[in-house]
C-alpha cells in the first residue's frame, strides 16, 4: 500500500515533466519519421522501417534511464528522500516505488513507437506483441541503471552521464544506426560484450518472429539486468544509510 502510494507519486513526477515527454516520446518519434523519409529517397537496408523501429524502441529506453536517474538524484538533493526516510517507508518500498512505475512507462513508449511506425509501412502482425513483451528485461536493465546512477550521482552529473554519455553509448553500440561489422575489431567486440546490441538484435528477431534468434540474445540481457539491479539496490541502500 505504502509502496503503491510512493510509486504513484514517482509516475506523476515523470509524466508531468514536459521535458521528459519531449525527449522520451518526441525524440524517438521524430527520428522514426525523419529516417523513414530519408529511406523513401535513399533506400538503406538498415533504415527499412521493419528493421529501424525495433532499434529505435531500444534506443528510446535510454531516456527511461535518464528519467529514473534524474528523479532519484533530484529527490536526494531536494531532501525529499531525507524527509521520507523518517517515515514508515521501508527500503523495499523505495526501491520498488522507483522501479515499478517506470516499467509501464517504458512499455507505453515502446507501444507508441510501434503504432507510430505503422503509417510509415511497418508490418502489422502479432509479432509486435512479442516485441513489446521482449522489452520487459531490456526495460528492467535501463530502469535499474537509472536507479544506480541516481543513487551515486547528483542531478547535474546524471544529466551528463545518463543524458549525454549513455544515450550516445546506447546509440553507437546498439548497431541501430550503422552495421557494427563495418567498424569491426575492438569496437565490435566491445559492443558485443555490452547489452545494447543484444537488445536491438533481440527486438529485431522478435519482431521478425525468429524466437530462437531472440532467445540467444536474451541471455546477456538477463545477465546484465540481474547484475545492474543488484548493483543498483546495493548503491541505493548505501546512500540511504549515508543519508
Amino acid at each position: 500500500m505504502r509502496m503503491r502510494i510512493f510509486a504513484k507519486r514517482c509516475a506523476k513526477e515523470i509524466l508531468r515533466d514536459p521535458i521528459n515527454l519531449a525527449f522520451g516520446l518526441g525524440f524517438p518519434l521524430i527520428l522514426l519519421a525523419l529516417l523513414s523519409c530519408l529511406q523513401a529517397n535513399i533506400p538503406v537496408p538498415l533504415f527499412e522501417i521493419d528493421t529501424l523501429t525495433p532499434g529505435i524502441t531500444v534506443f528510446g529506453l535510454s531516456f527511461i534511464t535518464l528519467f529514473s536517474a534524474t528523479l532519484i538524484a533530484r529527490d536526494r538533493e531536494s531532501a525529499l528522500l531525507q524527509r521520507l526516510y523518517t517515515t514508515p517507508l521501508t527500503s523495499l518500498d523505495f526501491i520498488l516505488g522507483y522501479m515499478l512505475p517506470m516499467l509501464p512507462i517504458a512499455l507505453g513508449q515502446t507501444v507508441i513507437c510501434y503504432l507510430f511506425a505503422i503509417p510509415f509501412g511497418l508490418t502489422c502482425s502479432v509479432h509486435i506483441v512479442y516485441a513489446v513483451l521482449g522489452m520487459i528485461p531490456v526495460a528492467v536493465f535501463n530502469i535499474a541503471l537509472g536507479l544506480l546512477c541516481g543513487s551515486i550521482f547528483g542531478v547535474k552529473q546524471v544529466g551528463g552521464i545518463c543524458g549525454a554519455m549513455l544515450t550516445n553509448l546506447s546509440a553507437w553500440l546498439s548497431g541501430v544506426w550503422f552495421d557494427l561489422k563495418l567498424v569491426g575489431g575492438l569496437f565490435e567486440k566491445m559492443a558485443n560484450a555490452l547489452p545494447f546490441v543484444h537488445a536491438a538484435e533481440m527486438e529485431k528477431a522478435l519482431f521478425g518472429g525468429n524466437l530462437l534468434d531472440a532467445a540467444a540474445h536474451l541471455l546477456p540481457i538477463l545477465a546484465y539486468s540481474v547484475l545492474v539491479t543488484a548493483g543498483a539496490v546495493c548503491c541505493f541502500l548505501r546512500q540511504m544509510k549515508k543519508q
Partner: protein
C-alpha cells in the same frame, strides 16, 4: 518531563568532529532553538535526533526512546522539516500532503480531514491545487512544515525554516510557528538571532560542535552582561575563543 535528552552525543566524519559531546535537555512542549554560526553542528545534531545520522558516540533519548536502539519508535513520534524544502515539485500541494498521509497509512477520510485542518492552520487553501515546485520559497516552507505535521508528531524538528526567505515571508512563517508553540515540542535550528529570541522558550548556542551556553534569551543576556541578544551571542561565542 523531558522530550529530548542527550548525553555526550558525538558525530565524527573522518577528521572532522561535527558534534562534540552534546549534552542537551529539552522539556516537553518547549520551543528550543539551536543557534550557531555556519558549521556549528546544528544540522548534524538534528539529523542524529531524527534518526537520519547514527551517532559515533553518546546517547540520545527522543520521546522516551533511544535513537540508536529504537529508531522506529523514535520515528513514530517525530516530524522533520529539512533545511531544503523537500517537496515533490511536479505534484500539487494537495498531492504532496496526500503523499505523506498515504505513507503513514491514513484512510481516505482521515486524509481529507487532515488536509482540511492543515490547510486552515497554514493558510494553504489558495495554493492547494498549485504545483509545489512553482510556489515561492515562503509558501514552499509552509507546505514543508505542514507535511512534517501530518503524522501528528510529539516532537517537530525545523532545520533553518526561514533560511533564504525575504523579511515578509520570514515574519509570516514565524506567526505559523508561533501558533504551534505549546502544542508540541519544537526543535528549531537557526543562525538568525532575532528568530531565536522571538520564538524560543529556551536557546542553546553551539560552536564547533559544542554547546557553549543554554537558557532563555534573558538568561543568556544576563550571563553575557549584554543589553541585546545579538551582543550576548557574540560575547558568548568569543568568550570561548579565548
Amino acid at each position: 518531563m523531558q522530550a529530548i535528552q542527550t548525553k555526550g552525543l558525538v558525530r565524527r566524519y573522518r577528521n572532522v568532529t561535527a558534534v562534540d559531546g552534546l549534552d542537551l535537555e529539552v522539556r516537553q512542549g518547549d520551543l528550543f532553538a539551536l543557534l550557531g554560526v555556519n558549521g556549528a553542528g546544528k544540522t548534524t545534531a538534528i539529523r542524529m535526533l531524527s534518526c537520519l545520522t547514527v551517532p559515533t558516540a553518546g546517547e540520545a533519548i527522543v520521546g522516551g526512546y533511544s535513537v540508536v536502539r529504537e529508531p522506529d519508535r523514535v520515528k513514530a513520534q517525530i516530524g522533520v522539516s529539512p533545511q531544503e524544502t523537500a517537496l515533490a515539485p511536479n505534484l500539487t500541494v494537495k498531492e504532496n500532503l496526500e503523499l505523506i498521509c498515504g505513507v503513514y497509512g491514513f484512510s481516505k477520510e482521515k486524509t481529507k480531514g487532515k488536509i482540511r485542518e492543515l490547510a486552515g492552520v497554514f493558510g494553504l487553501e489558495s495554493v492547494l491545487k498549485r504545483k509545489a515546485g512553482k510556489l515561492s520559497g515562503g509558501w514552499q516552507r509552509r507546505v514543508s512544515i505542514a507535511m512534517a505535521l501530518i503524522c501528528e508528531p510529539k516532537i517537530l524538528f525545523l532545520d533553518e525554516p526561514t533560511l533564504g526567505l525575504d523579511v515578509l515571508a520570514r515574519y509570516e512563517l514565524w506567526e505559523v510557528i508561533g501558533r504551534l508553540k505549546g502544542k508540541i515540542t519544537i526543535i528549531l535550528t537557526t543562525h538568525y538571532m532575532e528568530e531565536a529570541e522571538a520564538l524560543s522558550d529556551r536557546i542553546g548556542i553551539m560552536k564547533n560542535g559544542r554547546l557553549l551556553a543554554e537558557g532563555t534569551a534573558e538568561e543568556l543576556k544576563l550571563r553575557a552582561g549584554a543589553e541585546d541578544f545579538e551582543k550576548a551571542f557574540v560575547t558568548i561565542i568569543k568568550e570561548r575563543d579565548v
